[in-house]
Amino acid sequence: MKNRFWKITGLLLIVILSGTGCSDRDPSRNVSSQAANVRVGYSPNPLLGPLYAAEARGKAWQLIKFGTGGDIGYSLISGDIDAGFVETEKALKLIKAPGGEKLKVAGAIQFPYGATLVVRKDLKVRLSDLAGKKIAALEADCILNHQFNKDAKRHGLDPKSLKFSYMPFADMLPALESKSIDGALVKGAHAVLAELQGHKIIYQNWDIKAGADDCCPPSIAQTEYFLLVREQAIEKVKPLITALVAATELPPSEIRKVISTRLGYPQAALEQYPTASFAVVSEDQRKLLGEARCLLTR
């Protein structure tokens, strides 16, 4: 009796499981999954406005979300994705890493350089009150520092009274969050991210252009992401590159709207900033990276 009960239960389970496997699928899903066969990796960031704008215009590629640029890099190497947006420093390491020789740089997301001093959200200070505070900066001999020092003196702050701590841009926001520094002298792109995290901007100068010193070669300094493409997927990705260039031509308000919709940031908070743009590999980048590592679409 007991044996028969288990046999019937087992049979029922098999029938149910087979039924779920054979359920009707939406036929249109198959068509769209074949069309959207360009898999593009990204990690959500307001600087990827051109990508969101290109996607919002209904092009057939599949955006795959990742936690970090490193994960995107490994997925590119393993072939899980066809293209990916990787942060500049990581992309430069990736193309030299094992497996990276099969990747090509197809373009870059760029943002105006500028100089911004961001202070921790819990500090209520003005520029002239910063004496003795710990400020992060990229390097001592950097154009951001030189310009800031000039402007700070005009506003009644002696730059020598600040305690500078030198670190890469990518480490400055986490250091602000962990309260190990009081402020950070960042480039434009990181100012956007800092303010969206609630930190306060007390100094900004958009007139600074990258390239006046060795620490910040212009072709890299203003680049926030490189679009890396697998060699085997170059033809498939070309329409994406065209769409990204076209998306960059859109009015900034439209790009801000898609960023706001996509990431949930209030559009008003994005109004005060320029928008990022996508550009194909420039002559300077081609010289820096090597012609073999670049996908030239011009």
Binding site: T68, K90, K93, A97, P174, S178, K179
Partner: protein
């Protein structure tokens, strides 16, 4: 110099010498027990072929050398990291975080576990809460922890604490609860108070379970150390591992993984030594 001071000096130097001899002897026992298990004939018959395979496969090109660095490359990278990256400082940062989280978990979980195992009233009121909270994976606590503590050392210590707390708590509770009633009855016959029962019977009976809980806690605590070092700070073995991963430095990643494994093994060997000394009746099990 008086005769008394000469006698006192020689007595204190004899005491010092006695302590030194004890320390050296116990260190020898510890090293023999810990490294003895690694360098035993039985384990070497497994370890050596594995090492040879690991060295040979990348060299022969069967696996990509740059994706699977051989042991010789790992040793060379370790040497470079010690010199270039100041590994001692990173080890010290990780040790501080781990030590603080571990000790906090030990001093809270152990007494709570003892109380829950000893007293039915406390058990009925407290145990269901811990049984509900325990299955929540410690990494799931990260967002709430960041909100409560911000990003930094307190958050990191709390995450490690969460990883270590529950194994110690439940193992202590179980060990205390399962104390043989005959021992308790015998102690009561001789007039033992409840406090004496706890300190002389319950805790000693549960010692094996407590130490097992600590060993499990060490493993989970090291996992949480790596997760904790993702947030805030720019130091620690976990942070080095994640930086190496993000910047595609696989050889450095492997060095950090091996170091974490070694640290975990070493801490567990320390616990085995403590068990050897405190739970003499368990030798040979």
């Amino acid at each position: 110099m008086s005769v008394d001071s000469i006698i006192n000096d020689s007595a204190s130097s004899r005491r010092g010498l006695r302590w030194w001899n004890l320390l050296v002897r116990e260190l020898g026992v510890f090293l023999r027990a810990s490294f003895g298990s690694v360098f035993s004939r039985e384990f070497l018959t497994v370890l050596i072929p594995l090492l040879i395979l690991w060295e040979a496969l990348p060299r022969l090109g069967i696996v990509p050398r740059t994706l699977v660095p051989p042991p010789s490359a790992v040793v060379s990278t370790f040497r470079d990291m010690v010199v270039d990256l100041n590994m001692a400082e990173h080890l010290s940062s990780s040790a501080t975080r781990f030590g603080a989280g571990f000790l906090l978990a030990l001093v809270t979980a152990f007494p709570i576990g003892v109380l829950m195992g000893w007293n039915l009233f406390i058990r009925k009121h407290a145990l269901p809460l811990f049984q509900i909270l325990a299955p929540v994976p410690p990494p799931a606590w990260v967002p709430i922890t960041i909100i409560l503590f911000g990003v930094g050392l307190p958050m990191q210590i709390f995450l490690i604490f969460l990883g270590v707390f529950y194994p110690i708590l439940f193992n202590t509770y179980q060990g205390i609860k399962e104390t043989d009633p005959r021992y308790l009855a015998s102690a009561r016959v001789f007039g033992a108070s409840e406090f004496t029962l706890i300190t002389r019977v319950y805790i000693w009976h549960a010692l094996g379970s407590v130490i097992m809980g600590i060993k499990i806690g060490i493993a989970l605590g090291l996992i949480m150390l790596v997760i904790a070092e993702m947030y805030g700070g720019r130091s620690g073995i976990g942070w080095l591992l994640l930086e190496a991963k993000e910047y595609f430095q696989i050889d450095r990643m492997v060095v950090c993984m091996v170091m974490l494994g070694f640290i975990g093994w070493f801490l567990i060997e320390v616990m085995k030594y403590i068990e050897l000394k405190l739970a003499v009746w368990r030798i040979g099990r």
